[in-house]
Symmetry: C2
Subunit: 585 residues, 2 copies
């Protein structure tokens, strides 16, 4: 070992001991006869002292060290004259007797500090330097701790981690696959898994009744901000279970993670139907750290001659407590916010419930004080509150109001990243109609089972069927989702039919799974957690990229290693492939 201690280890009780440390030069200060160097490693920072009087050669050598040089020193621990209570090692310093430069360093392109001067692009190119910064180190260590704890918790309750293959088969259903050309089978391809879905179902059929895996998944989608082509899932499946068994098991895991990792006790997770979530929050992933539920006003707001409301399918609003004092400018900004193209509302109606009990609204022309009072009653509003109302087509208006609600939550400081509000959304619709292709698509995936009482609708009114599907939502972020699966071949066939598959298509894509259903498939269900997302939530940040060691950018590139890149003609030839360059339009 090139050290006897780490840079976070030596304390006041080590005074007078000899020590060898290795690490990086964080900073250097020359003070007359002394040179101080902060030596950094993964565990902390220790102050080194070089004394010109004591050892002038050494001190001269130390003065030539640049930032990020890797050095090894030998010296004696001594008590500092001016202690630094902010540093764990702040009571001591090391008087250096020997100095060895293990590797010099060019000046890094940005400072290795919590507040760095490097822009995102530069930091991505030199990701290995960015990863030296504390913030990234803490994120990766958090990720490690969460994966270890997840594994140990699931192991303790009888789950087995089983590795499923990465070189599998492409299926057109779902998102776009990444494919891998086979050299040995010319013209054929493997696909990288979007999830181990079919394999975990096969494992249930094999009798491994509690499976999990922390596993990489791949989707070749056009990347939105904060999506990665490769991402990590906590993937789980159980046999002989009903919906609540799965929910309880993974509520247990989630609570354990909160307790062990964050020292936070979260109570039992509320369960909310999809319909309720949409009605009261305009979203299937409501942030319930704050209330501010939607209030529908059609019965009190329509028929009073205000055309915008009268023509609307839905008039719906929220009550922002204590916001009656919002200025004209603040209200204009909210109106601008909802009118942004990404949100798309036509306008915003406000009603101030003044402290004196009177109302001031943007629709005073159409609604008198009496009328506005009935609104206030619907909202359970009090003097000092501000009601914000949108109108239009029901679905659109709800999602616009969802955005406004979240914005008001931000403005009012109701979305504290240290507070956690998990909930289960249940009873999702089984199918979604797609206008473009004129067919139903599975809202989760084609293996999700309909609720027993809705099965008969498969051939008559498929859009109405509720699924045995569920999502775990925390702080408005979808953390996981799953379902009780179909385990009966006939029902699976009816499902494929509802999705517009011919028998041949179903057979070609999922023949092996359908076949497996014939050999004693047990009832089963499961869930998958987005691990990157879960870690970023625990880390109190929005971006998953900060919790991935080597992420790709929004164009799917790794700018550090410069990938993807061209391959040799010989490689292409071996794979029996030719690149057709697209004609740029």
């Amino acid at each position: 070992m090139l050290r006897t201690h780490t840079c976070g280890e030596l304390k006041i009780n080590n005074v007078d001991e000899a020590a060898e440390l290795s690490g990086w030069v964080q900073r250097a200060r020359n003070l007359g006869g002394m040179t101080f160097i902060d030596l950094r490693d993964r565990y902390g920072i220790t102050q080194l002292v070089f004394d010109m009087e004591h050892h002038s050669d050494l001190c001269q050598k130390a003065r030539k060290l640049g930032r990020e040089y890797v050095i090894k020193i030998k010296g004696n621990v001594r008590e500092r004259s001016s202690k630094n209570p902010k540093m764990p090692t702040g009571d001591i310093e090391i008087l250096v007797e020997e100095l060895q430069i293990l590797n010099p360093s060019e000046l890094p392109p940005f400072t290795i500090e919590d507040e760095t001067d490097g822009g995102e692009e530069l930091r991505m190119k030199y990701r290995y330097l960015d990863l030296r910064r504390n913030v990234n180190k803490h994120n990766l260590i958090l990720r490690h701790r969460m994966s270890i704890e997840t594994r140990n918790y699931l192991n303790k309750i009888g789950f087995i981690e089983i590795e499923t293959p990465y070189l599998i088969k492409s299926t057109p259903e779902g998102a776009r696959d990444f494919v891998v050309p086979s050299r040995m089978s010319p013209g054929e391809f493997y696909a990288l898994p979007q999830s181990p879905q079919t394999f975990k179902q096969l494992l249930m059929i094999s009798g491994y009744d509690k499976y999990f895996q922390i596993v990489k998944c791949f989707r070749d989608e056009d990347l939105r901000a904060d999506r990665q082509p490769e991402f990590t899932q906590i993937d789980c499946e159980m046999s002989f279970v009903e919906r609540d068994d799965v929910l309880n098991t993974f509520e247990g895991l989630t609570k354990d993670l909160f307790k062990v990792i964050k020292d936070v006790e979260v109570g039992d997770f509320p369960r909310m139907s999809y319909d309720e979530a949409i009605k009261y929050y305009g979203s299937d992933k409501p942030d319930i750290r704050f209330d501010m539920k939607f209030v529908e006003l059609n019965d009190v707001a329509q028929g009073k001659g205000f055309k915008v409301f009268d023509d609307a399918e839905l008039v719906v609003g929220i009550n922002a407590e204590g916001c009656a004092g919002y200025t004209r400018k603040q209200l204009d900004k909210l109106t601008e916010f909802v009118k942004k193209p990404q949100i798309g509302a036509k306008g915003l109606v406000y009603v101030k419930y003044n402290e004196d009990g009177s109302f001031k609204s943007s629709v005073d022309k159409f609604f008198d004080q009496e009328a506005l009072k009935t609104w206030a009653e619907k909202f359970n509003a009090n003097p000092g509150d501000l009601m914000l109302i949108l109108a239009g087509k029901a679905n659109d208006t709800r999602s616009q109001l969802n955005e406004l609600r979240l914005e008001m939550g931000n403005q009012l400081g109701l979305r504290n990243t240290k507070e956690f509000a998990p909930l289960w959304i249940v009873d999702f619709p089984l199918l979604e109609w797609d206008e473009d292709t004129g067919r139903y698509y599975a809202m989760h995936h084609p293996f999700t089972s309909p609720r027993d009482e809705d099965i008969e609708l498969l051939e008559t009114d498929p859009g109405k069927i509720r699924a045995n599907a569920y999502d775990l939502v925390i702080n408005g972020v979808e953390i996981g989702g799953g379902s009780i699966r179909i385990h009966n071949r006939d029902l699976q066939n009816r499902m494929f039919k509802a999705l517009g598959f011919t028998d041949e298509e179903a057979q070609k894509q999922f023949g092996f799974l359908l076949k497996a259903f014939e050999f004693g498939a047990p009832p089963h269900g499961g869930i998958a957690f987005g691990f990157d997302r879960l870690v970023s939530l625990f880390g109190g940040q929005d971006s998953i990229r900060d919790f991935i060691a080597f992420p790709k950018n929004n164009a799917g590139r790794d700018v550090m290693i410069d990938s993807p890149s061209t391959i040799s003609e010989e490689q292409l030839k071996e794979l029996h492939l030719e690149v057709k360059k697209p004609v740029r339009e």
Copy 2:
């Protein structure tokens, strides 16, 4: 839950309790008024009783159940009249009161028994049924336990698991990459990692001084028996370490696994140089469960007129203790064995050291009793032993004798799968000369450091350089390998030069790593264990395939899901690719 207990849980102390079980019908026996069914799940087998007198409808229904039907029953635990001491649940049975068929089953294509009637191909096609068999279940559970224990051990001693990317960059050095066409960057490709080598080195440069990952790796090689295109590694790297620090750390992990998983105490692992291993065992992965070291005979066997020996570069043999009684037929078989084309010896010389002290050899014409006695002394042979001798070119002869030694170990029962003999092989050559391409190749990889004292040979006699590289060998199987890496850019440049890289080639393939070396790379080194191999060793079996849930066959195919397979024209178009079918010759 569709059960109150598992099928391995109910014991004599549960008698008179009510229980619900779910599982698979393992077998059924009708005995007059009773039907007995063995119900199986992951945890065991429980005997169910249906009593015609007690409940005739139910009994009739039970008689229609086929093998592998999935059922749920409710009943009462009672003491068996004839107990089965071989089964953990053998003291009890369940008198069934309710029976529900959860899913019927077709007759499986092979029996779900320890000794199945299914051939390998059939079992691979129906792998999900094969995985129901106990042997496979035990293998997968062993694998799970080993991965959990590995993670906890490494976590405990300060290692962090960090996920490295799967979509990386193709580099021509080393084995052939699997590549992944990029849709968003037409004509460009990602590659799947052959190992996270460069990323773990970057993590060292980032300061994560103890990294590990249990991770899938990919190699598109022509598959030999028992090679898989995707395989799993325990991948590790450490900073500020010297060779022995790495060896001690992973010797610790290996000992812990033996203790916790197998309850076997293994002593300190011997360390043997590569040169020694070749000289005494003819292999860089000697099986040292048994001795039988090579003895070189050039000085006593040459110059006596036996042309085969006289023309040979090396005359070398082993002493098989107690085998002087081998019959003519047995000796002929050994000769045939070494003459197999895969081994390639021209012949085999034997010397029997008879119990009466006389010698009988296949070369009595050239060597008298006196001469043979000097051989016996060299071998430390005793009356009753059999000396087996090969001659020819040194390298070839050693590897032939290695095969013969292993064969004799098998014949003499010296290779017990319950016994474990680990050792470290150290001081590998850094480079290997390749006649075909007329250049040196890195024996491990181009980042392996030469031993300090040999560095000066890089430009003068590169073939002589010993590397700071090491392998962990257990029972003649290479379990892991690694090295202290180069962390100095100049030395890395000299290494690339010795490997015949131009500056441009080095820059194009490894530019990001060379650049990273300029910003304070610490001394570092690591190791990777072949996890599939390690598990199969612990499982006492040779084939890694039995320890992988869904393995591929020797042609790289997954015959269960029928992959690789063709993809749609649309997919190819999106990827800007065209398949060029090879002309069959």
